[in-house]
C-alpha cells in the first residue's frame, strides 16, 4: 500500500491496537514546561507511579517567565512558585531542565529544534498546542492535555485514534514581501478554524520545498489554528543540513544512517489523502487578521468582508472594526515580534532589514522577544541589536511573553497590537486587548509607520 509521510511515522510507532478502539502510540520525545506539567507530576506521585523514561523528556521554562531582569528572582509569587515547582519535579525525577538563565533556555518550540532534539520520523508531544511546530522536520508532533502528559510520564505512550490525512499543496513562487507567516495565514483564511479538526496535515509543493527550516516551523506551528492536531513537511536536504552538528543531533556514522532512514519517509507517489487542497503562490499577498480567530484574515490591501454570522459580528464589535472597512491607515500603538511562531533568527533578520536606517514612530511601543537564549545571542552577534536599538525598538529576553500575556508583557485594554504571534482571541494579549496577526515584516513596517500600511505597494 502507498503510504503518506504521516502513515510511515505513525505506523512505525504503534505498539498495539485495541479492538474497536484506539491504538497505543509510542512517544520518542516529550517536551515539558512549567504551566501544563505540575498537575501531571502530582498525579503520578499521588498514585505512586514512577516516571518511565526520564531521559526522553526535555524541560524548559517559557510561558510564565519575565522578559526583563531574568537574573533577578521572579517577582510574582505564583509564577515563581510554578517555576520552582518545575525545577523540583525535574530534579527529583532526573529530567534535563533548561531553566531561566540557562544558555539553552527558550520557548519550547524554538529551543528543541535548535538543539537538534527534534528529528525527522520522531513522535513528539508537549502540553502545548503549538507542538505542531516540530512537524516541520517530518516528525509527528502534537499538543496534549495534562492528563496525557501524565500518561506519557507513566508509559512513554498515548492511547490515540489515528487521525485522517489532509494535504495542502502550494505551488509557484512567493511574491516579494510574502513570508511563511502570510502563507499559513492565507491557508487558514481559506479553510477556516476547524476544517483541519480530526486531521493531520501535510504541506507540500514548491513553496514549502523552497522554504527554510525557520519558515517551515512558522507554517507547521499554526496548523492547530485550522483545527489540525499537527502539520508535517517531508524531510529533505534543507532539513538534514539544519540538524547536522547540533548539540543532540546524531553524529558521524550514526547521522549518515539516520539520514538514509529519513530519506525513506516522504510520501509515496500515488498515496491517497482523505482531503486535499491546492493553492497558487501567486494568489498570496501579505496577510493581516481583523477578527478574534486566526481564520478571520484578509490580504492587507483588502477590505473586511461582510458576514451574517452572529459570532463574526461579535468579533468585529470586540475589535471595533466595521464590515467593508480597510485596515490600511489604522493607527497602532503596540507591536510585538516574538512567540513560537515568529521568534527565530530569520524573523529578526527580516525585521532588522526593514528597520535599518528608519525610526520607530513615536506612538508605538515595540517589543522584540527572541525565542531563545541562542537566538538572542545570535541577534547580538549579527549586530541586529544595534539596528533595533537605534530605531527605538526594545529587545527583551526570551520567552512566550505577550503572545499569551501570562507574565507582565500585556497589551492594555482597548489597544491594538500588530503581533507576529498565532492567536488573536479576545484578551489573548491582555484583558481587553485587540490583536492583529501579521508577519514580522508587516509588524516592523507598522512600528515604523505608527499605522498599518500596504507593505506590498511599498515593496513593488
Amino acid at each position: 500500500m502507498k503510504k503518506t509521510l504521516f502513515d510511515k511515522v505513525w505506523d512505525a510507532h504503534v505498539v498495539d491496537t485495541i479492538e474497536n478502539g484506539p491504538q497505543i502510540l509510542y512517544i520518542d520525545k516529550h517536551l515539558i514546561h512549567e504551566v501544563t506539567s505540575p498537575q501531571a507530576f502530582s498525579e503520578l506521585e499521588n498514585r505512586g507511579i514512577p516516571i518511565f523514561r526520564p531521559h526522553q523528556i526535555v524541560a524548559t521554562a517559557d510561558h510564565n517567565t519575565p522578559t526583563q531582569n531574568q537574573h533577578l528572582p521572579v517577582s510574582d509569587d505564583l509564577s515563581r512558585h510554578q517555576l520552582e515547582q518545575l525545577a523540583k519535579n525535574c530534579n527529583k525525577n532526573n529530567i534535563t531542565l533548561y531553566e531561566l538563565g540557562h544558555q539553552y533556555n527558550g520557548i519550547v518550540h524554538v529551543m528543541a529544534p535548535e538543539l537538534g532534539v527534534t528529528q525527522p520520523g520522531m513522535t513528539m508531544v508537549c502540553g502545548d498546542s503549538h507542538t505542531s511546530t516540530h512537524g516541520a522536520f517530518g516528525a509527528i508532533a502534537f499538543g496534549i492535555g495534562t492528563s496525557q502528559v501524565a500518561q506519557v510520564f507513566a508509559s512513554q505512550c498515548l492511547l490515540l485514534t489515528k487521525p485522517k490525512s489532509l494535504r495542502v499543496t502550494v505551488n509557484g513562487t512567493l511574491k516579494k514581501g510574502v513570508l511563511p507567516k502570510d502563507v499559513i495565514l492565507y491557508i487558514i483564511s481559506k479553510l477556516g478554524t476547524n476544517s483541519g479538526t480530526g486531521y493531520f496535515c501535510e504541506y507540500a509543493g514548491d513553496v514549502f520545498e523552497n522554504m527554510s527550516m525557520e519558515g517551515r516551523m512558522t507554517v507547521c506551528n499554526m496548523s492547530i489554528e485550522m483545527g489540525a492536531r499537527g502539520g508535517m513537511i517531508a524531510p529533505d536536504e534543507t532539513t538534514f543540513e539544519y540538524i547536522k552538528g547540533r548539540e543532540f543531533a546524531p553524529k558521524g556514522e550514526d547521522f549518515e544512517n539516520k539520514v538514509a532512514y529519513w530519506k525513506t519517509l516522504p510520501t509515496d507517489k500515488g498515496a491517497v489523502y482523505d482531503k486535499e487542497y491546492v493553492f497558487d503562490a501567486d494568489d498570496i499577498e501579505p496577510m493581516i487578521t481583523y477578527g478574534t480567530n486566526p481564520g478571520m484574515g484578509i490580504k492587507i490591501s483588502e477590505n473586511i468582508p461582510n458576514s451574517n454570522s452572529a459570532s463574526d459580528k461579535k468579533s468585529l464589535a470586540y475589535m471595533n472594526f466595521s464590515e467593508g472597512e480597510t485596515l490600511i491607515g489604522k493607527p497602532i500603538n503596540y507591536v510585538f515580534i516574538g512567540s513560537c511562531t515568529n521568534s527565530r533568527i530569520e524573523d529578526f533578520r527580516v525585521a532588522a532589514d526593514y528597520i535599518k536606517g528608519k525610526q520607530k514612530a513615536e506612538n508605538v511601543t515595540a517589543w522584540l522577544v527572541p525565542g531563545s537564549r541562542q537566538v538572542e545571542a545570535q541577534i547580538i552577534e549579527e549586530g541586529l541589536k544595534g539596528v533595533f536599538e537605534a530605531a527605538g525598538f526594545e529587545l527583551r529576553q526570551p520567552g512566550c511573553s505577550a503572545c499569551l500575556a501570562m507574565n507582565d508583557d500585556k497589551i492594555p485594554q482597548g489597544e491594538y497590537c500588530v503581533s507576529t504571534s498565532n492567536r488573536n482571541f479576545e484578551g489573548r494579549q491582555g484583558q481587553g486587548s485587540r490583536t492583529i496577526l501579521a508577519s514580522p515584516l508587516v509588524a516592523a513596517a507598522t512600528a515604523v509607520e505608527g499605522a498599518i500600511i500596504d507593505i506590498s505597494k511599498q515593496l513593488a
Partner: protein, 198 residues
Amino acid sequence: MEKFSTLISTAIPLNISNVDTDQIIPARFLKATDKKGFGDNLFRDWRYDKQNNLISDFALNTKKYSGSILVAGDNFGCGSSREHAAWALAGFGFKVIVSSFFADIFKGNALNNGLLPIQVTEDVLEQLFQAIAENSQAQIEINLELQTLSVLGTAIKTTFEIDPYKKTCLINGYDDIDYLLSKKDKIEAFELQKKHLL
C-alpha cells in the same frame, strides 16, 4: 476519575461559536500547580467586567439559567491545549457540554476528566437552544449507556457517538494510565525491537 452513567439536568445556553480555551480560562489564571479553584475563573472576562463586577446578562450569571449541562455553539474549545479549561468547566459544576463540533484536544481533555462532550447535529443544537429559550427549566436527560440525549416532555431526542473505549472508561471511572500500565510488557518489547529508530 468519577463515573458517569445518566444525568437529568437543566442547561445553560452559550450560543457563541468558536469559544476558545482562552475565553474558558484566561492565561493569567494558569499559574496554579494543582487542579483546584479554576471554576471560579471560568469564562472570567465574560462573567466579570474589569472592575470585577458580575456582567448580569451573561448566561452563566443570570438566575434564569442553571444546571450541569452547557449547550454551546459550534467548534467549542478551540485554541490552546490547556486542560485547565476542562478543570474550570468541571470545577464550576458542569458534567456535560453539548455542541455541534468540538476541537480535538479539548474533547480529549474533557473525556479524561469525566466531563462528557456530546456532539449533536447543527439542527439538534438549534432545537436545544430554542427549547431552553422557551423554557429555561427544560430538563435534559443524558443516558451514556444508550448514547441518547432528550429534552423531557418534548419531541427532541437524539443519539450521539462516543468511542467505545472511552465510553467504558467513563462508565467505570477508569483512566488511560491504568490501561497503559497494564501494557508495560508490550511497550518494553516495542522499545527493544525499534531501538535503531529511537
